[in-house]
Symmetry: C2
Subunit: 261 residues, 2 copies
């Protein structure tokens, strides 16, 4: 099932995508308290919004061995693989929907880069859940682009503006509830050209491991999201470019890049 | 004006505190679209909730010179003063209200500590605001206790469980809209004994500086909160203790500590 969130006449609703049609829904998919309405719209005619506004926005920092190894070579350092699943965070101010513009700040440098990521969207409250049952708490999956300014990431004490400036977190286009994680590939294209292509589930610590570990100390709530990190060595993007992150089985998240006015 | 959020019969409302009475309000104080109702309750009879559920939970990590100096001595390191206002974050799962229990996880070590903090609560959308106008975007002020597990803080790659485990972020008891920041003192008591007492506004970078800087890259939204850091050298707390953070002009945030069951 494909769930989206869309806006018509300034009203935001959840919807179920059936082929090229969106069926508007009353209520929210999280918790199951929703009803399909008689209202249907062509998918091409609706303005997609971010598929969920997360109460907590979890994000895994470093989660693919090849990414760690190749980023270390680039930075002329020894690769440091994470020894355990320590989760990080991003912020809601930075979220934008499929199709909306990534705004490059005027004072951002050339090392302004995409990161294509798998995103878990939670449907149930999870606390102290085992690795085996962890994925039962995931409502569905979407796509994230963890846009990063590398100079700020290196210079600042925290990742506040390098990762969390407005528009730096495209997420969408929708949530897919049925996926085969092991069959998924992540493909990143800039202006139609393939920049990276990797097995989505080839993670150092997989989603089930992260969810179980986080839930030992933190209650995960319906609507929370967990971004799972990226592989490869991201390249620079600049105003005028369009970045597409495709995850087989979910779809394609596409966003143009513009310069801050 | 004192604003609270309280629960009666499983319904959460905002309220205005007038002396010993809470006047229930329809709507939210953020944005100004609210109405006082005819319903009043004795303050002592209401269950106070956290005064706001923040869309983004900003938190300053290191913001008092004496804290930096004395923590460095304790850790046998050279003090490192922050050179610029780089904001950090905490998470909503960790928030608890005045009077609710801080639950010490079973596997947490003895270095389980309070941090008494001033908290700005935003009432208006802020983007690119000057230092001079920054405080106009603050709706009011409350109190936070940035409970921290120091071993995890040192060992983990991120501050996820050291600072963001469930119940580690007491906030309240209410929001005070009229304060004199320069006259404020922060007093921390454990079981009634004063552990620390410092000038609240004696910060390395004050609230106006942080708000202005954050707003250069990130839109601050109504209901967002910004915790401003702590001074002194926090001491250990343990199950059975009660921690009080008093900020003159606001009130006292009090929470017992219990051991995880």
């Amino acid at each position: 099932m494909k769930w989206c969130r869309f806006k018509t006449d300034d009203k935001i609703s959840f919807g179920i995508i059936e082929g090229d049609t969106v069926v508007a829904v009353d209520g929210s998919p999280f918790g199951g308290d929703y009803k399909k309405t008689a209202r249907t719209l062509p998918l091409s005619a609706v303005k997609l919004e971010i598929p969920v506004v997360p109460p907590t926005f979890y994000c895994v920092g470093i989660n693919y061995a090849d990414h760690v190894r190749r980023m270390a070579i680039k930075r002329n350092k020894e690769p440091e693989y994470p020894k355990k699943p320590d989760i990080g965070y991003r912020t809601n101010n930075a979220l934008i929907a499929h199709g909306e513009a990534i705004v490059k700040p005027r004072d951002a440098g050339p090392k302004f880069q995409y990161e294509g990521e798998l995103v878990a969207v939670f449907g149930k409250k999870a606390r102290n859940v085992s690795k085996e049952e962890a994925l039962d708490y995931v409502f569905g999956w979407t796509i994230g682009n963890d846009v990063s300014e590398r100079d700020w990431q290196a210079l600042d004490r925290t990742m506040w503006r390098s990762k969390n400036a407005d528009t730096f977190k495209p997420m969408g286009p929708w949530i897919e509830t049925e996926v085969d994680l092991d069959a998924m590939m992540t493909t990143i294209r800039v202006n139609g050209e393939v920049k990276d292509n990797f097995k989505t589930n080839n993670m150092i610590f997989d989603a089930a491991t992260y969810i179980s570990e986080v839930s030992k100390y933190c209650t995960i709530y319906p609507g929370d999201v967990m971004w799972m990190g990226t592989d490869g060595v991201p390249e620079n993007i600049k105003p005028g470019d369009t970045v597409e992150i495709e995850l087989t089985g979910i779809g394609t998240l596409s966003n143009p890049v513009v310069l801050e006015k």
